[in-house]
């Protein structure tokens, strides 16, 4: 009861993003969807009142870690077997 509709919706979207980023066979797509996951997480934290954590996640999780993942995948084989 205490959980609002907004939170539930974002949480379900989080599960969808997590599953998608592990499902796809292209590692570049996987990295980008992981960035989407980080942004959703940041939105959820901002809604929970943890503004500092949300700010950190927006800069670190969605910014740096996506860039670092893409930079790594650039030097590896892009296709993954599972």
């Amino acid at each position: 009861m205490g959980l609002e509709i907004f939170n539930t919706f974002i949480l379900l979207l989080l599960v969808v993003a997590a599953v998608t980023s592990l499902w796809v066979k292209d590692l570049l797509v996987s990295a980008v969807v992981f960035g989407v996951y980080s942004f959703l997480m940041c939105l959820l934290w901002a809604e929970m009142g943890a503004v500092d954590v949300a700010f950190t996640e927006a800069t670190v999780g969605a910014g740096i870690s996506t860039v670092v993942l893409v930079a790594t995948v650039f030097h590896l084989r892009r296709k993954s077997n599972d």
């Binding site: 599960v15 990295a31 929970m48 954590v53 999780g61 790594t72 995948v73 590896l76």
Partner: protein, 219 residues
């Protein structure tokens, strides 16, 4: 507790915990079952964010604001200054410096302690992710693959090559050479060209070729 109340306890009142558990399990399953190393690392990050999400949601209070003092509660803000000025005209005792918040106002702020713990965890998390990605790049340079099963195959072969002592290797090579000669003799007895190709050793991996090449000059 009967089944119905358990379901209502878990699925309706504590649905958020169910979703945290699902996220955590997705991350754990990816770390265990996915064979690609980058996928494993993404699973690790999902695992980590699920735990951080759990911690941050513990800090939520109903109808509470963010953990930054409102202007009227800040002991050193402009509002406190004004009240201190008013107090100096009246009561001298109560204007002695700033006052801590009352327990009722404490309930109006979200809990800052989990935020602090998790803020550093996120930054350390990206640093360790970078370290793990550097190791992944190094593995790809060394073995040419980041799939776990192929990697294990190559590691097995490398182990075998490295661990066998020279005497045993010599003996094995001799056995293999004898087997080859026998096969060649059989092939020469039978069909001419086709049989010879078939009688070649089945293993075409780099190890067998290397091991056979080494004794060659002794002949």
């Amino acid at each position: 507790m009967d089944g119905g109340s358990l379901v209502s306890e878990l699925l309706i009142e504590r649905l958020n915990y169910c979703i945290y558990v699902i996220l955590l399990l997705i991350g754990l399953w990816a770390m265990l079952a996915k064979r690609n190393l980058v996928k494993k690392l993404i699973g690790m990050s999902i695992f980590q964010t699920a735990i951080i999400l759990f911690y941050v949601s513990i800090a939520v209070k109903k109808d509470a604001t963010i953990p930054i003092y409102l202007a009227e509660h800040d002991p050193h803000g402009s509002h406190a200054q004004e009240s201190a000025d008013q107090n100096t005209t009246g009561n001298q005792e109560s204007s002695q410096g700033p006052v801590a918040l009352q327990p009722e106002t404490v309930k109006g702020y979200a809990n800052p302690l989990p935020h602090v713990l998790m803020l550093t965890a996120i930054v350390v998390g990206v640093a360790t992710l970078g370290l793990a990605l550097a190791l992944t790049q190094r593995i790809y340079q060394g073995y040419g693959t980041i799939e776990e099963d192929e990697l294990l195959d190559k590691l097995d072969r490398a182990d075998e090559r490295a661990s066998v002592s020279p005497l045993i290797r010599e003996k094995r090579n001799e056995q293999r050479r004898e087997a080859n000669q026998r096969a060649r003799a059989r092939a020469a007895g039978g069909l001419v060209a086709k049989g010879k190709q078939k009688a070649q050793p089945k293993r075409t991996s780099p190890r067998s070729s290397v091991d056979e090449e080494k004794p060659e000059p002794k002949k």
